[in-house]
Structures are given as structure tokens and as C-alpha cells.
């Protein structure tokens, strides 16, 4: 059986840009037109490298005295053994060499990208968005709105969702060839439904059990939901899950930190709001009513806080004055 050699020129995402088939070795690479493969890369030498078999009978790339030499994972070498998965950088060109005996990965099941599933996701996304839009419009409708107002709201929701998913699909198309619009739309819908549910859960827990601190810090859980949504968007584009997880988690931590900092600068407190403003029907109430005497006591305790606050403000001002008027 005759053996063929394939030299593949890759782009920076690792996809094959060009594939050259050879039946015999050695194969010469360089900018000169005397080479077997002509590299259109000013960072390569006229006669840059040579593919041949080494003493062990393995494929092997040898530098022919070029200035930039061969780079393997960023390190310069004068020669490199090629096992079929090795990617070598010549100048700025990436190459990979395989022979016809190279064993390829097993076939990937097509079920995850099947047509009907994409349409199902698309349909689910639209259904979720419609339901959410109608519920939100209904809850906020205090002026006996007409049907046309509900439809206008619905259109606004769908348009924004399409715009968001469209941007992700575009990025998806650019970086990995496949738009995946339906999946992005589905991801967005899940995210937005989760955010909305979270709002209601906060309100119910806060109001029912008088857990006002829930609503004081609600922006942080919202950030978590947004970060998870963005992670699922990114995962459709890039498959390096561990890296994406780290990126999304650190972005979430960063945003949370910024919010805490911003709140502190505004009010000297880390909470998002100074009090809980959610009101729900009386049936939701679970916690007991406090007596006026108890409330009076907590107003009394507030005095220490506010006096400390004043001390702090005065101290800050004094420090500011000493720095501005040395």
C-alpha cells in the first residue's frame, strides 16, 4: 500500500486552510519557488525547512538555517518530530503533517445538532419569551391596556431577544463557522426567565419572611445568572469549557465587586438598597407582626449607627482638609 503524506496549513484557530498531498519525501518548505510548498509568509526563509524521515523512521521536520527557526508551543527548535498532532510554526505559518496511516477520531454523533432539535429549541425559546412578555405586561398593566399594547410589548421583547441572539450567532459564525441562532435564542430565553423568576423569588422570600437582606443584595445573584447565561453562549462558540468557566466566574466576581464598591461610595453601605420596597398580597405574609415597642427599640438602636456615620463623615472631611491645605 502506497503511503501518502499530507502537509496541512492551519489557521490560528487550528482549522485547516490548505492541504497538500505528497507521495514521496523529502518535502521542501520556504518562500522560494523551488520549494514543494511555497509559503507566502515574509517571516519565513527562502529555504526554510525540510520534511523527511529520521533515523527511527518517523516523520521529522528539520530547519535549514532560517532566522526564525521552527517553533513548537512558542519555543524555537532546529528540528521537530511530527507525530500527526504536532503543530509547528514556521515564521507565522502553522503546519501539521500526517501520513495516510494516521488514525482519525471516531465519528461524532449528529444527534446534538439535529435539525428537529434546533427547531424545538427555537420554538421553546419563542414560547418562553412570549409567556414572559405577556405575564410581565399583565402584571404591570394598571391602566386597562388594550390588546394592541400587549402585542407591542411582545414585539419589543422578541426584537430585543433576536438582537441579542443575533449578535451571538454572528460571533459564532465568525469564530466557529456555525451560527447556532436557535441555540443562542434558547440560552437567552432561559437566562431571562431565570432572572425574572429570581426577582419574584426574592420578593416572595423577602416579603413572606421579612428577610429584607435578600432584596438588599439581589444584584449579586442576578450577576451569577447573567454569568451562567454568557457561559452557555460562549460554550456554543468555543469548546474550552474549563477556560470559559474561569473567565465567566472571574467576570462575575469582578462585577459583584464593582457593585459593592459603587454602593459603598454612594451610601457607605454595601447593600443595593436602603430598604425593601417589594409589596405582595397579605396572603403571602408568613412572619409575625412586631409591636410598636419593638420597632421603637430598633429606631433607638439606629442612633448609634447614624452617630458613627456622622463621626466618620467628619473624620473624612478633616482628612480631606488637611491634605488640601498642607
Amino acid at each position: 500500500m502506497s503511503l501518502f503524506y499530507f502537509v496541512e496549513i492551519l489557521n490560528h484557530s487550528g482549522d485547516v486552510q490548505a492541504r497538500h498531498k505528497f507521495s514521496e519525501l523529502p518535502i521542501r518548505l520556504g518562500r522560494n519557488y523551488s520549494n514543494d510548498i511555497i509559503l507566502d509568509d515574509p517571516h519565513t526563509a527562502a529555504e526554510h525547512a525540510l520534511i523527511e524521515l529520521n533515523a527511527n523512521g518517523k516523520l521529522h521536520l528539520r530547519d535549514l538555517g532560517s532566522q526564525n527557526r521552527l517553533k513548537l508551543k512558542g519555543k524555537a527548535h532546529s528540528q521537530a518530530e511530527l507525530d500527526g498532532d504536532t503543530i509547528v510554526q514556521l515564521g507565522r505559518t502553522l503546519i501539521r503533517v500526517r501520513d495516510s496511516q494516521y488514525i482519525v477520531n471516531s465519528e461524532v454523533s449528529d444527534s446534538s445538532h439535529s435539525h428537529w432539535q434546533t427547531w424545538l429549541m427555537f420554538g421553546c425559546a419563542i414560547a418562553m419569551l412570549c409567556a414572559l412578555s405577556l405575564i410581565t405586561s399583565w402584571l404591570g398593566d394598571i391602566a386597562n391596556n388594550k390588546v394592541s399594547d400587549y402585542i407591542m410589548d411582545l414585539i419589543k421583547w422578541l426584537m430585543s431577544a433576536a438582537a441579542w441572539a443575533g449578535i451571538w450567532a454572528l460571533a459564532n459564525r465568525v469564530f466557529s463557522g456555525n451560527a447556532n441562532f436557535g441555540r443562542h435564542l434558547f440560552t437567552f430565553s432561559c437566562g431571562i426567565v431565570a432572572l425574572d423568576l429570581l426577582d419574584h423569588i426574592y420578593a416572595v422570600l423577602g416579603f413572606a419572611f421579612s428577610w429584607e437582606w435578600f432584596s438588599h443584595y439581589q444584584s449579586h445573584l442576578q450577576i451569577v445568572v447573567v454569568a451562567i447565561t454568557i457561559y452557555f453562549h460562549l460554550r456554543l462558540i468555543n469548546h474550552k469549557r474549563a477556560m470559559l468557566k474561569i473567565i465567566c466566574a472571574s467576570l462575575a466576581v469582578l462585577s459583584s465587586g464593582l457593585i459593592l464598591m459603587n454602593n459603598y461610595q454612594k451610601t457607605n453601605q454595601y447593600a443595593d438598597s436602603l430598604y425593601m420596597n417589594e409589596v405582595l398580597p397579605p396572603v403571602v405574609r408568613m412572619s409575625r407582626n412586631h409591636s410598636l415597642a419593638e420597632f421603637d427599640k430598633s429606631i433607638h438602636q439606629l442612633k448609634a449607627d447614624i452617630d458613627a456615620e456622622r463621626e466618620k463623615a467628619l473624620k473624612e472631611k478633616a482628612e480631606k482638609n488637611t491634605t488640601t491645605n498642607p
Binding site: W138, L139, G140, D141, I142, A143, N144, A203, S210, E212, K266, T267, N268, Q269, L274, Y275, M276, N277, E278, V279, L280, P281, P282, V283, R285, S287, R288, N289, H290, S291, L292, E294, F295, D296, S298, I299, H300, Q301, L302, K303, D305, I306, D307, E309, R310, A313, L314, K317
Partner: protein
Amino acid sequence: MTFLRLPLLFACLTFPAFAATSSSSANLPAEQPSPAQVQPSSTAQELYTAAQNDLLQIRVLLKNGHSQSGVGSGFLIGTSNLVITNFHVVSKMALEPETYFGEFKDTHGKSGAIELLAVDVLHDLAVVRINRLGTGFFKLTETPALLNQGEHLYSLGNPLDLGFFISEGTYNGLSHRGFSEQIMFTGPVNPGMSGGPNVKADGQVAGVNVAHRRDGELVSFLVPAIYAQQLFARITPESKPPADFKPIIGEQLLAYQSVMMDTLLATPLTHKNLGPYTVPVRESEQVRCWGSSDTKGEKTYNTDQISCRMESAIYVSDDLQTGNISIHHKFTQTDKLNSLRFALLMGKFFSNRVNNDTKDEDVTTSRCTEEFIGNNNFSSRAVVCVEAYQKFSGLYNFLLFTTSTDEPLMNLQSNLIINGTSYENGKKFISQFLQGLSKSKPTAAIQEAN
């Protein structure tokens, strides 16, 4: 309906200085009686001629750049070197002496430095010392001037920095809207005349120009001369200006709030009905209540509101007016919304009650406490937020707001604002206010009991 008693200085501050200087010189000669006219001189003419040497414009300037930041009027007392003006004219000198200084300008265009000696924040008065003596025209007597309604009075001053004016009007009794009485004067008192004298036809000082009502025509207010006399009497030739006015102002504010709160709490709060709820209000000479109702057909809910407020406040600085309270009750009910939608709407009404966007120079950021409370068959969510005054110790602003949580299709939201009070008094008022909130037993239950 808005009722604002705005200090005169407010408009002065926005008045462009360049327009003022160009027109004042042009206007001054017009005030002099022309020798060509051989008419009998009017009372106003005689008064102005006699008073002009003791009439001053008081200017507050920025130390950095010497540009004027506020103008008012003042007058020399007797043959002393002391000048009476309004506190609000010179408040920047009192609060920020490191940034502002003052000077006077007389009717002949001469100017000189002023030295702030004493302030009376409650009556909006101040005494400054200058390097010139009065001619003795303006005298303060220990007994207040006898005034009859309709009697002619004359206000002098330098309105809008245009030049010295004399304006004629009538006496219309005393106003008790504030906790210190003021003379009601029906005559033009414009921004810039603040601190100027108001005299009777015989030259006796009746009061000091202080404010006018923006929503009325020629409705102006004067500080009765007796308060100027009391402040003036405290000053001896040896009096030195205090190093820091803030503790003095703070003490005056504390004394004022104790009078204010004692008066407001002297009698039990009045009760009014809104739906099944009974709400407390304070109706008195100083606190006026207004009601309104919104039952427009296209809305899904109806509201009835009662709001009470004091029409006066103590001016401390442009950003800080204090020593007042306001009460607001809003009752909402619906027969078109279900309980969830109604509650969410009430949540919207309940939000954004505390301004926490900016850090203030005058007060600290708010600290709040919140709780579900039940009392008198009435249960509600109540929030109390407190701010402390940075410049004056022991003074606080209180904000209480509640929303009822006992009826699915009815809601009562109440709001109480107390500005510039001691902690004890604020707490006491809040406690009385909450005591006053109640709900009647449902009528069905009463019938069953019968």
C-alpha cells in the same frame, strides 16, 4: 398647590452681576429729587432722603476671585457702627468663613469691610460691624411699634442689585404660620431687599424685610423689629466675633426644634378617615393640611390623599432648610386589579422613597431600619431612615414611610418627614404617629356581633 416661602437671597444668587453694576449707577440719580421739579415732596421722598445715609447694600463675596455670591440689604442702627441684616444674606460668611467674606456698599457708592458679630437663625437676623457710624435715623425701641391694619409702611433696600429703592405698602397684621411670628406687608419686597429696614411714616423701624410669597401678589413678610432689638441689645462695644458660628447656630436650631416639637406634640394628633383606615395628622396654625382625590375613569384604581406641611422652614444655607415637618397619607383601592397586580403597583409606589444617590455636604447618608408592625388592628411595613447633620451635632432628619399589608385590594401608604430635630423628639413624634394609624373592624364582623 405649592406654598413656598423662599428666601430672597435665592433669586439674588442667580442674578447676573454684570447687569446689576451697569444699571445701578444709571438708576441712582433718578432717586434724587430733581431740582427742576417744584412739587411738594411725598412721605416716601422725605423718608428716603433722611434714611439714605444709613442704608447699605450687603454683599457676600468669594475670597478667591472676589466675585459676589450673594447680595442683600442692611441698615445702621442709631449712631453705632452696627448693621442689622438677614441671616440668610450672610449665612455663607457664618458657615464657610474660609471661602467667603463680606463687604458693604452705601448709597454714595462707598464700600468697606463687614464683620459678622451675631446671628439669630430662627428670626433670620444678623448683626455686622462696619467701620462707619450711623447718622441716627434708624432707631430700635424696646417696645414694638404700634401698627394698625392698613397703615402705610415703607421698605428700603437694594432689590436685584439694581440700586437703592423705597417701596410703599400696607401693614396687614401678623402671620403665625411659622413658629416665630412675622409681619405681613402688602408691598413689593424683591430679592436683594432682604435685611433692609421697613419703617413707618414717622421713621420708626417696624421690621426687617425677609421674604415674599412667590404664589401671591405683593404678599411680603417682615421680621418684627423687636427681635432685631433683642439681638442688638446682646452686643456690647467689646463684643468680638465668635471664631466659629456653627456651634451657635446648632444651639439655636436645637432650641428651636424643642419649641417646635413641644408645640406639635402638645395636643394629641387629629385623626382622619381614609377608607377603613384612621390616619393621624397635625392640623394647627403652623401645619396646614390639604386633601385631594383621583377617581379618573380610565385608571384601574382610585386614590385619596391628605397632605400636611409647614409653610415655613428655617433657612440655614441654600441647600439646608430645616425645622419643619410634613405628613402625607395616600389611600388607594381597586375593583379592577387582582391582589397580586395591586400589590405590585403598591410596591412601585413604595419604592424610591430615600434619596441615596449623592453624598451630601450637610447631612450624612441615611441609615434605615424596617419591620412589619401590627397595632390597632392595623398591620404595615414600616421603614424609618435617619440622617444626621454634619455641621450641627444633635440634629437629625427623620423619614418614616409605611405601607399597609392587611388588605388585598386596599392600601394605605403614609409618609412622615421631620427635618432638624433631636433624636428623642423625632422618635417621640414617629411613635405617636404610628400609634395614630389604625383600622376599623370590618363592618360585617360588627353586624355579626350585634
